[in-house]
Symmetry: C2
Subunit: 296 residues, 2 copies
Amino acid sequence: MEMTDLLTFSTVARLGGITRAAEELNTVQSNVTQRIKALEAEIGTALFERHSRGMTLTGAGRRLLPYAQRMAALSREAVLAARDDGEPKGPLSIGSMETTAAVRLPTLLAEFHRRYPAVRLTLRTATTADLVAAVLDGSLDGAFVAGPIEHAELAATVAFTEELVLVTAQRWTSLAALRAGTPESGPTALVFRTGCTYRQRLEQVFTEFGWPSAVRFEFGTLDGMIGCVAADMGVTMLPRAVVERDHVHRDVNIHKLKAPHAHVETLFIQRRTAHQYSALQGFLACLDQQEASAAA
Amino acid sequence: MEMTDLLTFSTVARLGGITRAAEELNTVQSNVTQRIKALEAEIGTALFERHSRGMTLTGAGRRLLPYAQRMAALSREAVLAARDDGEPKGPLSIGSMETTAAVRLPTLLAEFHRRYPAVRLTLRTATTADLVAAVLDGSLDGAFVAGPIEHAELAATVAFTEELVLVTAQRWTSLAALRAGTPESGPTALVFRTGCTYRQRLEQVFTEFGWPSAVRFEFGTLDGMIGCVAADMGVTMLPRAVVERDHVHRDVNIHKLKAPHAHVETLFIQRRTAHQYSALQGFLACLDQQEASAAA
DNA sequence: CCTGATTACGAAATACGTAATAATC
DNA sequence: GATTATTACGTATTTCGTAATCAGG
Protein backbone atom coordinates (compact mmCIF):
# COMPACT_ATOMS: atom_id res chain seq x y z
CA MET A 1 0.00 0.00 0.00
CA GLU A 2 2.38 2.69 -1.22
CA MET A 3 1.37 6.31 -1.44
CA THR A 4 2.30 6.44 -5.13
CA ASP A 5 -0.27 3.78 -5.89
CA LEU A 6 -2.92 5.52 -3.81
CA LEU A 7 -2.27 8.80 -5.58
CA THR A 8 -2.62 7.24 -9.01
CA PHE A 9 -5.74 5.47 -7.78
CA SER A 10 -7.30 8.73 -6.57
CA THR A 11 -6.40 10.47 -9.79
CA VAL A 12 -7.87 7.77 -12.00
CA ALA A 13 -10.99 7.75 -9.84
CA ARG A 14 -11.34 11.51 -10.11
CA LEU A 15 -10.66 11.78 -13.84
CA GLY A 16 -12.43 8.59 -14.76
CA GLY A 17 -9.74 7.24 -17.00
CA ILE A 18 -6.17 6.05 -17.20
CA THR A 19 -5.20 8.25 -20.12
CA ARG A 20 -6.29 11.45 -18.43
CA ALA A 21 -4.74 10.39 -15.13
CA ALA A 22 -1.43 9.58 -16.81
CA GLU A 23 -1.40 13.04 -18.32
CA GLU A 24 -2.03 14.76 -15.00
CA LEU A 25 0.55 12.61 -13.24
CA ASN A 26 3.18 13.27 -15.91
CA THR A 27 3.59 9.66 -16.84
CA VAL A 28 2.29 7.20 -19.39
CA GLN A 29 -0.76 4.95 -19.67
CA SER A 30 1.05 1.71 -19.15
CA ASN A 31 2.52 2.88 -15.91
CA VAL A 32 -0.82 3.91 -14.50
CA THR A 33 -2.32 0.59 -15.54
CA GLN A 34 0.43 -1.22 -13.68
CA ARG A 35 0.06 0.85 -10.50
CA ILE A 36 -3.67 0.18 -10.44
CA LYS A 37 -3.15 -3.49 -11.08
CA ALA A 38 -0.60 -3.62 -8.29
CA LEU A 39 -3.11 -2.06 -5.88
CA GLU A 40 -5.84 -4.43 -7.00
CA ALA A 41 -3.53 -7.39 -6.52
CA GLU A 42 -2.54 -6.23 -3.06
CA ILE A 43 -6.11 -5.71 -1.92
CA GLY A 44 -7.32 -8.75 -3.73
CA THR A 45 -10.29 -7.24 -5.51
CA ALA A 46 -11.02 -5.08 -8.54
CA LEU A 47 -11.20 -1.36 -7.85
CA PHE A 48 -12.46 -0.23 -11.25
CA GLU A 49 -14.91 -1.40 -13.80
CA ARG A 50 -13.33 -1.12 -17.23
CA HIS A 51 -15.47 0.03 -20.06
CA SER A 52 -14.80 1.55 -23.40
CA ARG A 53 -15.02 5.15 -22.31
CA GLY A 54 -12.83 4.90 -19.24
CA MET A 55 -13.00 3.45 -15.77
CA THR A 56 -15.52 3.78 -12.97
CA LEU A 57 -15.11 2.73 -9.36
CA THR A 58 -16.39 -0.59 -8.10
CA GLY A 59 -17.86 -0.88 -4.62
CA ALA A 60 -14.44 -1.73 -3.23
CA GLY A 61 -13.00 1.28 -5.03
CA ARG A 62 -15.62 3.56 -3.55
CA ARG A 63 -14.80 2.27 -0.09
CA LEU A 64 -11.09 2.75 -0.65
CA LEU A 65 -11.24 6.26 -2.08
CA PRO A 66 -11.89 8.19 1.14
CA TYR A 67 -8.97 6.40 2.78
CA ALA A 68 -6.69 7.29 -0.10
CA GLN A 69 -7.71 10.92 0.20
CA ARG A 70 -7.30 11.08 3.94
CA MET A 71 -3.91 9.45 3.72
CA ALA A 72 -2.78 11.90 1.07
CA ALA A 73 -3.95 14.80 3.22
CA LEU A 74 -2.16 13.36 6.24
CA SER A 75 0.98 12.92 4.20
CA ARG A 76 1.00 16.56 3.17
CA GLU A 77 0.30 17.67 6.69
CA ALA A 78 2.97 15.40 8.13
CA VAL A 79 5.73 17.08 6.14
CA LEU A 80 4.59 20.51 7.21
CA ALA A 81 4.28 19.46 10.83
CA ALA A 82 7.75 17.94 10.87
CA ARG A 83 9.28 21.02 9.27
CA ASP A 84 7.45 23.36 11.59
CA ASP A 85 9.93 24.28 14.30
CA GLY A 86 7.79 26.99 15.90
CA GLU A 87 8.91 29.78 13.61
CA PRO A 88 6.02 30.77 11.31
CA LYS A 89 7.12 30.06 7.74
CA GLY A 90 6.21 28.04 4.68
CA PRO A 91 2.81 27.92 2.99
CA LEU A 92 -0.47 28.98 4.61
CA SER A 93 -3.77 28.75 2.74
CA ILE A 94 -6.57 30.93 4.00
CA GLY A 95 -10.08 31.14 2.57
CA SER A 96 -12.54 33.98 2.85
CA MET A 97 -15.91 35.19 1.73
CA GLU A 98 -15.66 37.87 -0.88
CA THR A 99 -17.10 40.50 1.46
CA THR A 100 -14.71 39.79 4.31
CA ALA A 101 -11.78 39.80 1.93
CA ALA A 102 -12.82 43.22 0.69
CA VAL A 103 -13.08 45.10 3.96
CA ARG A 104 -11.57 43.15 6.82
CA LEU A 105 -8.58 41.35 5.45
CA PRO A 106 -6.43 44.00 3.76
CA THR A 107 -5.09 45.47 7.00
CA LEU A 108 -4.95 42.07 8.69
CA LEU A 109 -2.96 40.49 5.89
CA ALA A 110 -0.63 43.46 5.67
CA GLU A 111 0.12 43.24 9.36
CA PHE A 112 0.57 39.47 9.14
CA HIS A 113 3.02 39.79 6.30
CA ARG A 114 4.94 42.48 8.13
CA ARG A 115 5.33 40.24 11.17
CA TYR A 116 5.94 36.93 9.43
CA PRO A 117 7.49 37.62 6.03
CA ALA A 118 8.65 33.99 5.78
CA VAL A 119 5.07 32.73 5.44
CA ARG A 120 3.81 32.40 1.88
CA LEU A 121 0.15 33.18 2.40
CA THR A 122 -2.39 32.43 -0.28
CA LEU A 123 -5.95 33.69 -0.14
CA ARG A 124 -8.89 32.09 -1.87
CA THR A 125 -12.34 33.61 -1.96
CA ALA A 126 -15.42 31.43 -2.23
CA THR A 127 -18.80 30.89 -0.65
CA THR A 128 -19.22 29.73 2.93
CA ALA A 129 -20.30 26.26 1.83
CA ASP A 130 -17.27 25.79 -0.42
CA LEU A 131 -14.92 27.12 2.24
CA VAL A 132 -16.23 24.76 4.89
CA ALA A 133 -15.69 21.84 2.56
CA ALA A 134 -12.19 23.03 1.68
CA VAL A 135 -11.17 23.37 5.32
CA LEU A 136 -12.56 19.93 6.08
CA ASP A 137 -10.66 18.24 3.28
CA GLY A 138 -7.44 20.00 4.19
CA SER A 139 -7.03 22.13 1.08
CA LEU A 140 -7.38 25.24 3.26
CA ASP A 141 -5.75 25.70 6.66
CA GLY A 142 -8.51 28.03 7.81
CA ALA A 143 -11.27 30.26 6.50
CA PHE A 144 -13.51 33.22 7.26
CA VAL A 145 -17.13 32.14 6.87
CA ALA A 146 -20.56 33.36 7.88
CA GLY A 147 -21.83 31.89 11.13
CA PRO A 148 -23.31 29.94 12.62
CA ILE A 149 -21.30 26.80 11.89
CA GLU A 150 -21.74 23.63 13.89
CA HIS A 151 -19.42 20.83 12.97
CA ALA A 152 -17.69 18.38 15.25
CA GLU A 153 -14.43 18.53 13.30
CA LEU A 154 -14.23 22.30 13.06
CA ALA A 155 -13.14 24.81 15.66
CA ALA A 156 -14.68 28.24 15.14
CA THR A 157 -13.95 31.59 16.70
CA VAL A 158 -15.83 34.83 16.09
CA ALA A 159 -13.58 37.05 14.02
CA PHE A 160 -15.87 39.95 13.11
CA THR A 161 -19.45 40.99 13.66
CA GLU A 162 -21.13 42.57 10.67
CA GLU A 163 -24.30 44.58 10.32
CA LEU A 164 -26.19 43.38 7.29
CA VAL A 165 -27.99 46.05 5.30
CA LEU A 166 -30.15 46.02 2.23
CA VAL A 167 -28.41 47.80 -0.63
CA THR A 168 -30.35 49.54 -3.40
CA ALA A 169 -29.73 52.07 -6.12
CA GLN A 170 -29.53 55.75 -5.14
CA ARG A 171 -33.12 56.53 -6.20
CA TRP A 172 -34.70 54.41 -3.49
CA THR A 173 -34.48 56.67 -0.50
CA SER A 174 -36.25 54.39 1.93
CA LEU A 175 -37.50 50.87 2.30
CA ALA A 176 -41.05 52.21 2.01
CA ALA A 177 -40.19 53.84 -1.31
CA LEU A 178 -38.70 50.60 -2.53
CA ARG A 179 -41.79 48.64 -1.56
CA ALA A 180 -44.02 51.17 -3.22
CA GLY A 181 -42.00 51.43 -6.38
CA THR A 182 -41.49 47.76 -7.17
CA PRO A 183 -43.88 45.32 -8.77
CA GLU A 184 -45.88 42.81 -6.80
CA SER A 185 -43.16 40.22 -7.19
CA GLY A 186 -40.53 42.42 -5.59
CA PRO A 187 -37.22 43.68 -6.91
CA THR A 188 -34.62 41.53 -8.56
CA ALA A 189 -32.24 39.94 -6.08
CA LEU A 190 -28.54 40.00 -6.85
CA VAL A 191 -26.75 37.24 -5.01
CA PHE A 192 -23.50 35.36 -4.89
CA ARG A 193 -23.22 31.93 -6.34
CA THR A 194 -24.83 29.05 -4.50
CA GLY A 195 -23.54 28.38 -1.03
CA CYS A 196 -23.43 31.97 0.14
CA THR A 197 -24.98 32.53 3.52
CA TYR A 198 -25.99 36.14 2.92
CA ARG A 199 -28.13 34.86 0.08
CA GLN A 200 -30.18 32.83 2.52
CA ARG A 201 -30.67 35.90 4.70
CA LEU A 202 -31.82 37.88 1.71
CA GLU A 203 -34.39 35.23 0.89
CA GLN A 204 -35.73 35.39 4.44
CA VAL A 205 -36.13 39.16 4.21
CA PHE A 206 -37.86 38.91 0.83
CA THR A 207 -40.29 36.38 2.26
CA GLU A 208 -41.03 38.71 5.15
CA PHE A 209 -41.74 41.57 2.76
CA GLY A 210 -44.24 39.36 1.02
CA TRP A 211 -42.16 39.09 -2.13
CA PRO A 212 -42.26 35.61 -3.57
CA SER A 213 -39.00 33.95 -4.50
CA ALA A 214 -37.83 36.68 -6.82
CA VAL A 215 -35.77 36.63 -9.96
CA ARG A 216 -32.11 36.34 -9.09
CA PHE A 217 -28.86 37.06 -10.78
CA GLU A 218 -25.77 35.31 -9.58
CA PHE A 219 -22.42 37.01 -9.35
CA GLY A 220 -18.94 35.79 -8.65
CA THR A 221 -17.41 39.05 -7.54
CA LEU A 222 -18.40 41.75 -5.14
CA ASP A 223 -17.61 44.69 -7.38
CA GLY A 224 -19.69 43.33 -10.20
CA MET A 225 -22.60 42.92 -7.89
CA ILE A 226 -22.41 46.40 -6.37
CA GLY A 227 -22.02 47.95 -9.79
CA CYS A 228 -25.25 46.34 -10.89
CA VAL A 229 -27.03 47.46 -7.75
CA ALA A 230 -25.90 51.04 -8.47
CA ALA A 231 -27.32 50.70 -11.96
CA ASP A 232 -30.61 49.65 -10.34
CA MET A 233 -30.59 46.18 -11.80
CA GLY A 234 -31.73 44.94 -8.43
CA VAL A 235 -31.02 44.92 -4.72
CA THR A 236 -28.70 42.93 -2.53
CA MET A 237 -27.73 42.39 1.07
CA LEU A 238 -24.24 43.06 2.35
CA PRO A 239 -22.34 44.00 5.50
CA ARG A 240 -22.50 47.74 6.09
CA ALA A 241 -18.72 48.03 6.19
CA VAL A 242 -18.48 46.66 2.67
CA VAL A 243 -20.84 49.23 1.24
CA GLU A 244 -19.26 52.11 3.07
CA ARG A 245 -15.94 51.73 1.37
CA ASP A 246 -15.23 55.08 -0.29
CA HIS A 247 -15.57 54.23 -3.92
CA VAL A 248 -19.03 52.73 -3.85
CA HIS A 249 -21.12 54.24 -1.11
CA ARG A 250 -22.05 57.34 -3.04
CA ASP A 251 -23.78 55.37 -5.78
CA VAL A 252 -26.13 53.34 -3.61
CA ASN A 253 -28.42 53.67 -0.64
CA ILE A 254 -28.32 51.42 2.38
CA HIS A 255 -31.33 50.44 4.45
CA LYS A 256 -31.25 49.14 7.98
CA LEU A 257 -32.90 45.82 8.68
CA LYS A 258 -34.78 44.64 11.72
CA ALA A 259 -32.86 42.89 14.46
CA PRO A 260 -33.11 39.20 13.55
CA HIS A 261 -31.70 39.80 10.09
CA ALA A 262 -29.36 42.62 10.90
CA HIS A 263 -26.39 40.87 12.44
CA VAL A 264 -24.16 38.12 11.26
CA GLU A 265 -20.96 36.83 12.74
CA THR A 266 -17.95 36.11 10.60
CA LEU A 267 -16.20 33.08 12.03
CA PHE A 268 -12.68 31.89 11.53
CA ILE A 269 -12.78 28.11 11.22
CA GLN A 270 -10.02 25.53 11.29
CA ARG A 271 -9.87 21.78 11.61
CA ARG A 272 -9.67 20.49 15.15
CA THR A 273 -7.49 17.53 14.31
CA ALA A 274 -4.93 19.46 12.31
CA HIS A 275 -1.46 20.12 13.60
CA GLN A 276 -1.22 23.57 15.15
CA TYR A 277 1.04 25.07 12.55
CA SER A 278 3.15 27.96 13.72
CA ALA A 279 2.08 29.91 10.66
CA LEU A 280 -1.57 29.42 11.54
CA GLN A 281 -0.92 30.31 15.16
CA GLY A 282 0.78 33.48 14.02
CA PHE A 283 -2.23 34.29 11.89
CA LEU A 284 -4.57 33.80 14.82
CA ALA A 285 -2.37 36.02 16.95
CA CYS A 286 -2.65 38.80 14.36
CA LEU A 287 -6.39 38.32 14.24
CA ASP A 288 -6.73 38.51 18.01
CA GLN A 289 -4.66 41.64 18.11
CA GLN A 290 -6.69 43.35 15.40
CA GLU A 291 -9.88 42.48 17.26
CA ALA A 292 -8.47 43.84 20.48
CA SER A 293 -7.42 47.13 18.88
CA ALA A 294 -10.79 47.41 17.11
CA ALA A 295 -12.59 46.99 20.42
CA ALA A 296 -10.46 49.66 22.10
CA MET B 1 6.62 10.05 1.52
CA GLU B 2 6.23 6.30 0.98
CA MET B 3 4.63 4.04 3.54
CA THR B 4 7.71 1.82 3.65
CA ASP B 5 9.80 4.73 4.82
CA LEU B 6 7.24 5.72 7.41
CA LEU B 7 7.07 2.18 8.75
CA THR B 8 10.83 1.97 9.13
CA PHE B 9 10.77 5.39 10.73
CA SER B 10 8.16 4.33 13.29
CA THR B 11 10.02 1.14 14.03
CA VAL B 12 13.35 2.86 14.57
CA ALA B 13 11.63 5.44 16.76
CA ARG B 14 9.97 2.73 18.83
CA LEU B 15 13.00 0.50 19.21
CA GLY B 16 15.49 3.32 19.50
CA GLY B 17 18.02 1.95 17.06
CA ILE B 18 18.64 0.93 13.50
CA THR B 19 20.00 -2.51 14.31
CA ARG B 20 16.97 -3.54 16.33
CA ALA B 21 14.60 -2.05 13.77
CA ALA B 22 16.33 -3.89 10.94
CA GLU B 23 15.86 -7.14 12.81
CA GLU B 24 12.16 -6.57 13.39
CA LEU B 25 11.64 -5.50 9.79
CA ASN B 26 13.50 -8.53 8.45
CA THR B 27 16.11 -6.51 6.65
CA VAL B 28 19.63 -5.18 7.25
CA GLN B 29 21.11 -2.11 8.91
CA SER B 30 22.23 -0.44 5.75
CA ASN B 31 18.78 -0.56 4.27
CA VAL B 32 17.18 1.03 7.32
CA THR B 33 19.83 3.74 7.31
CA GLN B 34 19.01 4.53 3.72
CA ARG B 35 15.26 4.66 4.26
CA ILE B 36 15.69 7.04 7.17
CA LYS B 37 18.06 9.20 5.18
CA ALA B 38 15.61 9.26 2.29
CA LEU B 39 12.86 10.48 4.62
CA GLU B 40 15.12 13.09 6.16
CA ALA B 41 16.11 14.32 2.72
CA GLU B 42 12.50 14.52 1.61
CA ILE B 43 11.40 16.46 4.67
CA GLY B 44 14.56 18.49 4.79
CA THR B 45 15.40 18.07 8.46
CA ALA B 46 17.00 15.47 10.70
CA LEU B 47 14.51 13.14 12.35
CA PHE B 48 16.91 11.41 14.75
CA GLU B 49 19.81 12.36 16.91
CA ARG B 50 22.55 9.81 16.47
CA HIS B 51 24.49 8.76 19.47
CA SER B 52 26.59 5.81 20.33
CA ARG B 53 23.85 3.74 21.91
CA GLY B 54 21.24 4.22 19.20
CA MET B 55 18.99 6.96 17.91
CA THR B 56 16.48 9.24 19.60
CA LEU B 57 13.89 11.44 17.93
CA THR B 58 14.52 15.09 17.25
CA GLY B 59 11.71 17.63 17.58
CA ALA B 60 10.82 17.16 13.93
CA GLY B 61 10.79 13.39 14.45
CA ARG B 62 8.47 13.71 17.41
CA ARG B 63 6.10 15.81 15.33
CA LEU B 64 6.21 13.33 12.48
CA LEU B 65 5.67 10.18 14.53
CA PRO B 66 1.93 10.55 15.23
CA TYR B 67 1.31 11.12 11.52
CA ALA B 68 3.28 8.01 10.63
CA GLN B 69 1.21 5.99 13.08
CA ARG B 70 -2.11 7.37 11.93
CA MET B 71 -1.23 6.73 8.32
CA ALA B 72 -0.22 3.17 9.09
CA ALA B 73 -3.51 2.61 10.91
CA LEU B 74 -5.44 4.12 8.01
CA SER B 75 -3.58 1.93 5.57
CA ARG B 76 -4.53 -1.22 7.45
CA GLU B 77 -8.11 -0.08 7.73
CA ALA B 78 -8.29 0.88 4.07
CA VAL B 79 -7.52 -2.65 2.92
CA LEU B 80 -10.15 -4.11 5.20
CA ALA B 81 -12.72 -1.54 4.14
CA ALA B 82 -12.08 -2.17 0.46
CA ARG B 83 -12.30 -5.92 0.89
CA ASP B 84 -15.46 -5.68 2.96
CA ASP B 85 -18.29 -6.38 0.57
CA GLY B 86 -21.03 -6.56 3.19
CA GLU B 87 -20.53 -10.22 4.03
CA PRO B 88 -19.04 -10.48 7.55
CA LYS B 89 -15.64 -12.12 7.21
CA GLY B 90 -11.98 -11.55 7.89
CA PRO B 91 -10.42 -10.45 11.17
CA LEU B 92 -12.32 -8.82 14.03
CA SER B 93 -10.59 -7.78 17.25
CA ILE B 94 -12.79 -7.35 20.29
CA GLY B 95 -11.64 -6.33 23.74
CA SER B 96 -13.37 -6.96 27.03
CA MET B 97 -13.02 -6.59 30.75
CA GLU B 98 -12.19 -9.85 32.44
CA THR B 99 -15.56 -9.96 34.22
CA THR B 100 -17.63 -9.41 31.10
CA ALA B 101 -15.60 -12.00 29.24
CA ALA B 102 -16.34 -14.52 31.99
CA VAL B 103 -20.12 -14.26 32.19
CA ARG B 104 -21.55 -12.35 29.25
CA LEU B 105 -19.45 -13.21 26.26
CA PRO B 106 -19.40 -17.01 26.06
CA THR B 107 -22.94 -17.33 24.70
CA LEU B 108 -22.61 -14.18 22.62
CA LEU B 109 -19.40 -15.31 20.95
CA ALA B 110 -20.79 -18.78 20.35
CA GLU B 111 -23.83 -17.34 18.63
CA PHE B 112 -21.68 -14.95 16.62
CA HIS B 113 -19.44 -17.73 15.43
CA ARG B 114 -22.42 -19.86 14.51
CA ARG B 115 -23.84 -17.07 12.37
CA TYR B 116 -20.64 -15.76 10.84
CA PRO B 117 -18.11 -18.58 10.70
CA ALA B 118 -16.02 -16.65 8.16
CA VAL B 119 -15.03 -14.05 10.75
CA ARG B 120 -11.81 -14.73 12.63
CA LEU B 121 -12.64 -13.18 15.97
CA THR B 122 -9.93 -12.52 18.51
CA LEU B 123 -10.70 -11.52 22.08
CA ARG B 124 -8.35 -9.59 24.34
CA THR B 125 -9.07 -8.95 27.99
CA ALA B 126 -7.67 -5.89 29.71
CA THR B 127 -8.73 -3.03 31.95
CA THR B 128 -11.17 -0.37 30.84
CA ALA B 129 -8.42 2.23 30.49
CA ASP B 130 -6.27 -0.02 28.31
CA LEU B 131 -9.25 -1.02 26.19
CA VAL B 132 -10.28 2.56 25.52
CA ALA B 133 -6.74 3.35 24.40
CA ALA B 134 -6.64 0.28 22.17
CA VAL B 135 -9.93 1.13 20.48
CA LEU B 136 -8.77 4.70 19.92
CA ASP B 137 -5.51 3.69 18.27
CA GLY B 138 -7.21 1.13 16.08
CA SER B 139 -5.68 -2.02 17.52
CA LEU B 140 -9.17 -3.11 18.63
CA ASP B 141 -12.33 -2.77 16.54
CA GLY B 142 -14.50 -2.51 19.63
CA ALA B 143 -14.53 -3.30 23.33
CA PHE B 144 -16.72 -3.93 26.36
CA VAL B 145 -15.80 -1.45 29.07
CA ALA B 146 -17.29 -0.10 32.29
CA GLY B 147 -19.28 3.09 31.83
CA PRO B 148 -19.52 5.95 31.83
CA ILE B 149 -17.27 6.85 28.91
CA GLU B 150 -17.32 10.28 27.33
CA HIS B 151 -15.07 10.70 24.35
CA ALA B 152 -15.72 12.60 21.15
CA GLU B 153 -14.16 9.92 18.96
CA LEU B 154 -15.96 6.98 20.55
CA ALA B 155 -19.49 5.75 20.05
CA ALA B 156 -20.82 3.83 23.04
CA THR B 157 -23.93 1.72 23.49
CA VAL B 158 -25.10 0.08 26.70
CA ALA B 159 -24.49 -3.64 26.33
CA PHE B 160 -25.22 -5.00 29.81
CA THR B 161 -26.23 -3.61 33.18
CA GLU B 162 -24.47 -5.23 36.12
CA GLU B 163 -25.22 -5.21 39.82
CA LEU B 164 -21.99 -4.69 41.70
CA VAL B 165 -21.66 -6.58 44.98
CA LEU B 166 -19.02 -6.80 47.63
CA VAL B 167 -17.52 -10.28 47.71
CA THR B 168 -16.04 -11.75 50.85
CA ALA B 169 -15.03 -15.13 52.18
CA GLN B 170 -17.76 -17.48 53.39
CA ARG B 171 -17.29 -16.63 57.08
CA TRP B 172 -18.47 -13.04 56.75
CA THR B 173 -22.22 -13.49 56.80
CA SER B 174 -23.08 -9.81 56.62
CA LEU B 175 -21.56 -6.43 56.02
CA ALA B 176 -21.98 -5.70 59.70
CA ALA B 177 -20.00 -8.80 60.62
CA LEU B 178 -17.28 -7.76 58.22
CA ARG B 179 -17.05 -4.27 59.70
CA ALA B 180 -16.94 -5.70 63.22
CA GLY B 181 -14.39 -8.37 62.45
CA THR B 182 -11.83 -6.32 60.56
CA PRO B 183 -9.17 -3.99 61.95
CA GLU B 184 -9.55 -0.23 61.98
CA SER B 185 -7.86 0.04 58.58
CA GLY B 186 -10.43 -2.22 56.92
CA PRO B 187 -9.96 -5.47 55.03
CA THR B 188 -7.46 -6.02 52.28
CA ALA B 189 -8.76 -5.01 48.86
CA LEU B 190 -8.14 -7.33 45.97
CA VAL B 191 -8.28 -5.44 42.71
CA PHE B 192 -7.42 -5.73 39.05
CA ARG B 193 -4.38 -4.02 37.67
CA THR B 194 -4.42 -0.25 37.27
CA GLY B 195 -7.06 1.10 34.96
CA CYS B 196 -9.93 -1.03 36.17
CA THR B 197 -13.12 0.88 36.82
CA TYR B 198 -14.46 -1.49 39.47
CA ARG B 199 -11.37 -0.71 41.46
CA GLN B 200 -12.39 2.93 41.65
CA ARG B 201 -15.85 1.93 42.85
CA LEU B 202 -14.32 -0.23 45.53
CA GLU B 203 -12.25 2.67 46.74
CA GLN B 204 -15.35 4.83 46.99
CA VAL B 205 -17.12 2.21 49.09
CA PHE B 206 -14.10 1.80 51.34
CA THR B 207 -13.99 5.53 51.90
CA GLU B 208 -17.65 5.51 52.80
CA PHE B 209 -17.09 2.76 55.34
CA GLY B 210 -14.43 4.88 56.93
CA TRP B 211 -11.62 2.60 55.87
CA PRO B 212 -8.58 4.51 54.78
CA SER B 213 -6.94 3.61 51.52
CA ALA B 214 -6.41 -0.02 52.37
CA VAL B 215 -3.74 -2.47 51.45
CA ARG B 216 -4.34 -3.77 47.95
CA PHE B 217 -3.27 -6.73 45.96
CA GLU B 218 -3.39 -6.57 42.22
CA PHE B 219 -4.50 -9.45 40.06
CA GLY B 220 -4.46 -10.08 36.37
CA THR B 221 -7.11 -12.75 36.21
CA LEU B 222 -10.58 -13.13 37.63
CA ASP B 223 -10.20 -16.68 38.86
CA GLY B 224 -7.06 -15.87 40.78
CA MET B 225 -8.82 -13.02 42.48
CA ILE B 226 -11.92 -14.95 43.47
CA GLY B 227 -9.80 -17.81 44.73
CA CYS B 228 -8.02 -15.45 47.06
CA VAL B 229 -11.26 -13.94 48.26
CA ALA B 230 -12.53 -17.43 49.08
CA ALA B 231 -9.34 -18.00 51.06
CA ASP B 232 -10.16 -14.80 53.00
CA MET B 233 -7.12 -12.94 51.80
CA GLY B 234 -9.34 -9.94 51.33
CA VAL B 235 -12.50 -8.65 49.72
CA THR B 236 -13.35 -7.43 46.24
CA MET B 237 -16.16 -5.94 44.23
CA LEU B 238 -17.61 -7.68 41.22
CA PRO B 239 -20.80 -7.95 39.18
CA ARG B 240 -23.26 -10.32 40.83
CA ALA B 241 -23.50 -12.45 37.72
CA VAL B 242 -19.79 -13.15 37.83
CA VAL B 243 -19.90 -14.43 41.37
CA GLU B 244 -22.98 -16.52 40.84
CA ARG B 245 -21.37 -18.73 38.27
CA ASP B 246 -21.70 -22.27 39.60
CA HIS B 247 -18.16 -23.11 40.47
CA VAL B 248 -17.42 -20.18 42.76
CA HIS B 249 -20.52 -18.98 44.46
CA ARG B 250 -20.48 -21.61 47.18
CA ASP B 251 -17.11 -20.50 48.51
CA VAL B 252 -17.87 -16.83 49.01
CA ASN B 253 -20.57 -14.54 50.33
CA ILE B 254 -21.95 -11.61 48.43
CA HIS B 255 -23.21 -8.41 50.01
CA LYS B 256 -25.54 -5.92 48.41
CA LEU B 257 -24.41 -2.34 48.15
CA LYS B 258 -26.41 0.85 48.41
CA ALA B 259 -27.82 2.35 45.25
CA PRO B 260 -25.15 4.76 44.07
CA HIS B 261 -22.52 2.03 44.04
CA ALA B 262 -24.69 -0.88 43.12
CA HIS B 263 -25.07 -0.47 39.39
CA VAL B 264 -22.63 -0.17 36.57
CA GLU B 265 -23.25 -0.23 32.86
CA THR B 266 -21.07 -2.24 30.55
CA LEU B 267 -20.71 -0.29 27.33
CA PHE B 268 -19.66 -1.47 23.91
CA ILE B 269 -17.42 1.18 22.40
CA GLN B 270 -16.15 1.65 18.87
CA ARG B 271 -14.46 4.44 16.99
CA ARG B 272 -16.81 6.86 15.29
CA THR B 273 -14.55 7.48 12.35
CA ALA B 274 -13.87 3.85 11.56
CA HIS B 275 -15.37 2.15 8.57
CA GLN B 276 -18.49 0.22 9.50
CA TYR B 277 -17.08 -3.21 8.93
CA SER B 278 -19.60 -5.87 8.11
CA ALA B 279 -18.00 -8.11 10.69
CA LEU B 280 -18.47 -5.46 13.35
CA GLN B 281 -22.02 -4.82 12.24
CA GLY B 282 -22.73 -8.52 12.49
CA PHE B 283 -21.30 -8.50 15.98
CA LEU B 284 -23.54 -5.62 16.99
CA ALA B 285 -26.53 -7.42 15.52
CA CYS B 286 -25.76 -10.45 17.68
CA LEU B 287 -25.39 -8.21 20.71
CA ASP B 288 -28.72 -6.49 20.09
CA GLN B 289 -30.44 -9.79 19.67
CA GLN B 290 -29.02 -11.20 22.88
CA GLU B 291 -30.13 -8.09 24.73
CA ALA B 292 -33.60 -8.37 23.27
CA SER B 293 -33.94 -12.02 24.23
CA ALA B 294 -32.58 -11.29 27.71
CA ALA B 295 -35.17 -8.57 28.17
CA ALA B 296 -38.00 -10.85 27.07
C1' DC C 1 37.53 -4.09 20.94
C1' DC C 2 32.57 -3.91 21.12
C1' DT C 3 28.25 -1.91 19.71
C1' DG C 4 25.96 0.47 16.40
C1' DA C 5 25.58 3.73 12.35
C1' DT C 6 27.28 4.91 7.82
C1' DT C 7 29.36 4.25 3.25
C1' DA C 8 30.49 1.66 -0.98
C1' DC C 9 29.13 -1.21 -4.34
C1' DG C 10 27.18 -5.09 -6.86
C1' DA C 11 22.74 -7.73 -7.29
C1' DA C 12 17.88 -7.90 -7.41
C1' DA C 13 13.61 -5.95 -7.78
C1' DT C 14 10.71 -2.56 -9.20
C1' DA C 15 9.07 1.17 -11.70
C1' DC C 16 9.01 3.56 -16.01
C1' DG C 17 8.69 4.35 -20.99
C1' DT C 18 8.07 2.85 -25.97
C1' DA C 19 5.49 0.39 -28.86
C1' DA C 20 2.45 -3.02 -30.22
C1' DT C 21 -2.20 -5.14 -29.25
C1' DA C 22 -6.92 -5.61 -28.03
C1' DA C 23 -11.50 -3.96 -27.36
C1' DT C 24 -15.35 -0.95 -27.89
C1' DC C 25 -17.98 2.45 -30.04
C1' DG D 1 -10.71 4.93 -37.33
C1' DA D 2 -10.89 7.10 -32.98
C1' DT D 3 -10.49 6.40 -28.14
C1' DT D 4 -8.89 3.85 -24.31
C1' DA D 5 -7.01 0.03 -21.64
C1' DT D 6 -3.75 -3.84 -21.60
C1' DT D 7 0.37 -6.48 -22.70
C1' DA D 8 5.19 -7.15 -23.98
C1' DC D 9 9.62 -5.88 -23.40
C1' DG D 10 13.78 -3.11 -22.84
C1' DT D 11 15.71 0.61 -19.92
C1' DA D 12 16.33 3.25 -15.85
C1' DT D 13 15.86 3.81 -11.17
C1' DT D 14 15.41 2.31 -6.71
C1' DT D 15 15.88 -0.78 -3.21
C1' DC D 16 18.25 -4.39 -0.99
C1' DG D 17 22.06 -7.06 0.85
C1' DT D 18 27.16 -7.99 1.72
C1' DA D 19 31.05 -6.16 3.41
C1' DA D 20 34.02 -2.68 4.60
C1' DT D 21 34.43 1.70 7.35
C1' DC D 22 33.70 4.99 10.86
C1' DA D 23 32.49 6.76 15.57
C1' DG D 24 31.77 6.54 20.59
C1' DG D 25 32.43 4.29 25.08
